[in-house]
């Protein structure tokens, strides 16, 4: 495949910016992990709250940058014409850089307690989780979203010609802007402020980002596997519908303890328990679409990251989210390390990996190196997957200890009681952080230099070479049996079920904190046992499933196949 429209090339700079921001964010993450071990590190110079504000803010910005890159790349293909007003897109690019630099200087004002109050609004920074930047940055971001929505909607064909993918992206880019506005005013009441803050955070992530995610995954599968647009469109339609039907009232799971009435506990527990449905649906479709025809995998890293995105969405957003979405489990997990375990897997996993997947799909096409060396990309994938799974599971396991010491025993001296109990997990954070950072470095280096490196002189194409290396001789009959035999729908279903069995164990573990034996007698055996089985079990099943899926796909390249293109 090659570039059909010149404006598709504009996506390249967004992908590169995305990788730079990603690396900086990972750097901040490493500082945070080290500060968790030693909170006095950089104290007074770069306090934890400033580093965390940057970490969250850049996390949002690079994911959005990746979305923009992906949308710009597929936009002309969907519209069958060039993007309109390329100068606006270039302006958007520079605006993003200005926002990042501006945030770098304003977020650290929190150390001096400067918010820039004027006319009742904090203009420089506002100290709210996920919405740390002040009004000036907020308005700049709003303008950026307006530009994106304008460019995409003007480029698309007339509305009566839209298919589901147009609808998904069109609604996505418009709603990004609309929902952002709920974060642009100061609210005096704490309960009301939290109520509106979750409008932005929850509806972005579980309403809009997820719509963009489903749509982009669907369309990338159309491009990569020549999957049927009609069938993918049907999946996108039902995916989006399920996301909204469950997510709209699912937002109530943020309204359990913020000072809003108890009836939210009923609505939130009921509807957000349904939130994994679209994710299971999406998971199933990636299986179907990837296996619809038996083409060999042309661009392995791109598909690796799409699969990673869908699987981590299932694990992080689906299963870990499900386990703490009931008021009876959430009352324990709320405000502990169990939450960032879910957040890291769901945010980086689902949305971050999709941006990287889109970059791996688009960059070789734009740089005209369709048969690039894919080894670094695969290595980077396994490193970030292991790293982020390790981080996530360190957080949740440490979180279970934290629940016991902090909530059940009521010991609130973090330095004296809570930290020592969580010691092991505190130490594991920078370890997995380092694995993740190395992976991020590898894949960023790979994408920066892709097509510019001097390639090793090989007679066979690198894809086959690697498959040979992994599976021995290409003609080896083992390549279509054992771990690399084709993945049937039945087997994929068993894998999915195993994940949910461990998910159920995890949920029961959190639920068991309600038992008098734990709560009154202070015996943590049952929750520790269930967490000790559930979380590592889920981690291993996830790694094994990804490995199984990818090996079966890799094997297609070596298996003698009638459809194999010459």
């Amino acid at each position: 495949m090659q570039i059909e429209y010149q404006t598709q090339r504009l996506s390249l700079r967004f992908f590169m910016l995305m990788l730079v921001l990603f690396l900086v964010q990972v750097g901040y993450g490493l500082i945070l992990a080290t500060q968790q071990v030693d909170p006095t590190l950089l104290r007074g110079v770069l306090n934890f709250n400033v580093v965390r504000a940057e970490h969250l803010n850049l996390g949002i910005l690079w994911i959005l940058t990746g979305f923009i890159g992906a949308i710009l790349f597929v936009g002309p293909l969907l519209s069958k014409r060039e993007m309109v007003t390329p100068w606006l897109i270039k302006l958007l690019f520079y605006a993003l850089i200005v926002i990042v630099v501006w945030n770098f200087f304003t977020l650290r004002l929190a150390q001096q307690g400067i918010a820039g109050w004027w006319e009742g609004q904090p203009w420089l920074q506002q100290g709210l989780e996920y919405l740390e930047p002040g009004r000036i940055a907020g308005i700049l971001v709003l303008i950026g979203f307006a530009i994106l929505a304008y460019v995409v909607l003007r480029t698309f064909p007339a509305m009566r010609e839209w298919n589901e993918i147009h609808w998904g992206l069109g609604i996505g880019v418009f709603a990004l802007m609309a929902v952002w506005m709920f974060g642009l005013f100061y609210v005096e009441r704490l309960d009301l402020q939290e109520y509106f803050r979750w409008f932005v955070v929850h509806y972005w992530v579980e309403g809009i980002w997820e719509v963009i995610h489903i749509t982009l995954v669907g369309y990338l599968l159309v491009l990569m596997f020549k999957a049927d647009v009609k069938s993918v469109g049907f999946a996108v339609f039902w995916g989006v519908t399920l996301v909204w039907l469950s997510g709209l009232l699912g937002n109530a799971h943020h309204y359990f303890w913020i000072g809003t009435p108890a009836f939210w506990q009923f609505w939130g527990s009921l509807f957000s328990a349904l939130e994994p449905l679209p994710l299971v649906f999406c998971f199933w479709h990636i299986y179907l679409d990837a296996h619809q025809n038996r083409r060999p995998l042309e661009n392995a890293p791109a598909f690796y990251f799409i699969l990673g995105s869908v699987v981590l969405e299932q694990i992080g957003a689906g299963i870990l989210g499900f386990s703490m979405t009931f008021s009876l489990t959430n009352v324990w997990s709320h405000g502990t390390w169990v939450t960032p375990g879910h957040a890291h897997l769901a945010l980086f996993g689902t949305f971050g990996m999709l941006g990287i997947a889109a970059a791996y799909y688009a960059v070789p096409i734009i740089r005209k190196v369709p048969d690039y060396d894919q080894r670094l990309g695969k290595l980077g994938f396994w490193l970030v997957l292991t790293g982020v799974l390790g981080l996530g599971f360190t957080f949740v396991l440490g979180g279970v200890v934290q629940i016991f010491v902090y909530r059940t025993l009521g010991l609130h001296w973090f330095g004296g009681d809570v930290f020592p109990a969580m010691g092991l997990f505190k130490l594991l954070l920078p370890v997995f952080g380092l694995v993740f950072a190395v992976g991020a470095g590898v894949l960023a280096f790979d994408l920066f230099t892709l097509g510019r490196r001097v390639r090793a002189p090989t007679t066979t194409d690198s894809r086959t070479a690697l498959t040979d290396a992994v599976h021995g001789d290409a003609a080896d009959p083992r390549s279509t049996s054992g771990w690399s035999r084709a993945l049937t729908g039945f087997e994929a279903g068993i894998w999915l079920m195993m994940m949910w069995v461990f998910g159920a164990i995890i949920t029961l573990g959190l639920l068991s904190f309600n038992l008098p034996r734990v709560r009154v007698l202070g015996d943590p055996t049952l929750p520790y046992l269930l967490a000790g089985v559930g979380y590592p079990g889920l981690l291993l099943v996830t790694l094994a499933f990804v490995s199984r899926f990818l090996t079966s796909l890799e094997a297609r390249a070596s298996a003698p196949m009638a459809e194999r293109p010459t």
């Binding site: 909170p39 104290r43 007074g44 306090n47 934890f48 709250n49 400033v50 965390r52 929190a110 001096q112 307690g113 400067i114 918010a115 109050w117 904090p122 506002q126 100290g127 709210l128 989780e129 005096e188 009441r189 704490l190 309960d191 803050r197 009609k230 069938s231 049907f234 039902w238 909204w244 039907l245 709209l248 009232l249 109530a252 359990f256 303890w257 913020i258 009435p261 609505w267 199933w284 479709h285 179907l288 009352v331 324990w332 405000g335 390390w337 939450t339 960032p340 902090y406 909530r407 059940t408 025993l409 009521g410 010991l411 001296w413 004296g416 009681d417 709560r519 007698l521 202070g522 943590p524």
Partner: protein
């Protein structure tokens, strides 16, 4: 589930049905949201809460300006480096908070909390100036003083401006009064000793509970400088004043004695006995250039006897010689 086989999927009909269901759900959400913020619910609002002359609404701005949520959680939302702050006022009370926030780098001793109680805002809010009844009213403060008092904390010293500590206390008073539907869950395991044993195991508990030395020094050493060194520890002075030249919250003491001090009004004084004694008794009389006023409590004159003040001055004098 696929519609790719040429079947008639009735897409228009399904889309319409999905939209109708979504519309009903939006309606439910709007109704529930409206009910959540009705006045009749009786949820406390910040405009009704104050601590002395400080308003909770102003405190919320201070809370956001310092991005407290970037390390702590509030109603469970935020970061998880430090403890949740929702019920801190209820647990530790305003005097402990005032003693801690002004110099967050170390945990307040009993003397530091007693000092705060002399403040008239504290008297009005807690209804007592006796440390015994304060600790009875806020048992969390008693445990904190006993277990952590005088040791260093992980929190950075924050450069609070005049009044900001009071405003923060007002905000925390507001959040303590909020009805959060039973969160955080009530602790039902009885007895601190048992809980410590469960958390740390038998071997470590002895070490985890530091000897409660604060405020209980009966034997005053003969050497005034050594006595002074003991007093500055007891009264938590070192939380704000470092023994060297470093700036913490207030000026450092190293080499201070006998030096020329530039004041905020532009004049210069010599740091002799008279100046140091005055600065302890009336901290706002002569403010050093570059430091805010009204940060140091004005109550040490009442708390300390004359010979104790002289001992502290002697201690500061001794720091010059090192």
């Amino acid at each position: 589930m696929s519609c790719g086989n040429g079947n008639d999927c009735d897409e228009v009909g399904r889309r319409r049905m999905a939209l109708v269901v979504l519309g009903i759900m939006t309606l439910v959400f709007i109704v529930l949201s409206g009910l959540s913020f009705l006045k009749s619910r009786g949820q406390v609002t910040p405009d009704t809460v104050s601590f002395g002359s400080y308003k909770a609404a102003d405190g919320k701005r201070v809370f956001q300006a310092y991005n407290c949520m970037g390390c702590h959680t509030m109603v469970g939302n935020g970061a998880y480096l430090g403890p949740d702050l929702t019920r801190e006022y209820e647990r530790a009370g305003p005097a402990w908070l005032a003693a801690f926030l002004a110099s967050a780098g170390s945990w307040p001793t009993e003397a530091a909390v007693r000092t705060q109680l002399l403040n008239h805002d504290q008297l009005a809010d807690t209804g007592t100036d006796s440390i015994e009844s304060y600790l009875k009213k806020f048992p969390g403060a008693a445990v904190r003083i006993e277990r952590r008092g005088g040791s260093t904390s992980f929190m950075p010293n924050l450069p609070f401006r005049e009044g900001e500590v009071g405003q923060l206390i007002a905000f925390l008073k507001y959040t303590s009064a909020m009805n959060t539907e039973g969160w955080p869950p009530k602790v039902e395991v009885e007895g601190l000793d048992k809980r410590l044993l469960l958390a740390h195991g038998a071997n470590t508990v002895a070490h985890a509970t530091p000897a409660p030395a604060a405020g209980k020094a009966d034997t005053a050493p003969a050497d005034p400088a050594a006595h002074g060194a003991q007093l500055v520890k007891q009264y938590g002075c070192t939380a704000c004043h470092s023994p060297d030249r470093k700036r913490l919250v207030g000026p450092g003491w190293g080499g201070l004695y006998g030096s020329q001090v530039k004041l905020a009004d532009g004049s210069t004084v010599t740091a002799n006995d008279a100046y140091l004694i005055e600065s302890i008794i009336k901290p706002n009389a002569k403010i050093v250039a570059g430091y805010p006023s009204s940060v140091m409590p004005g109550s040490f004159g009442k708390l300390l006897k004359d010979d104790e003040i002289s001992a502290i001055v002697a201690y500061i004098h001794s720091l010059e010689k090192q």
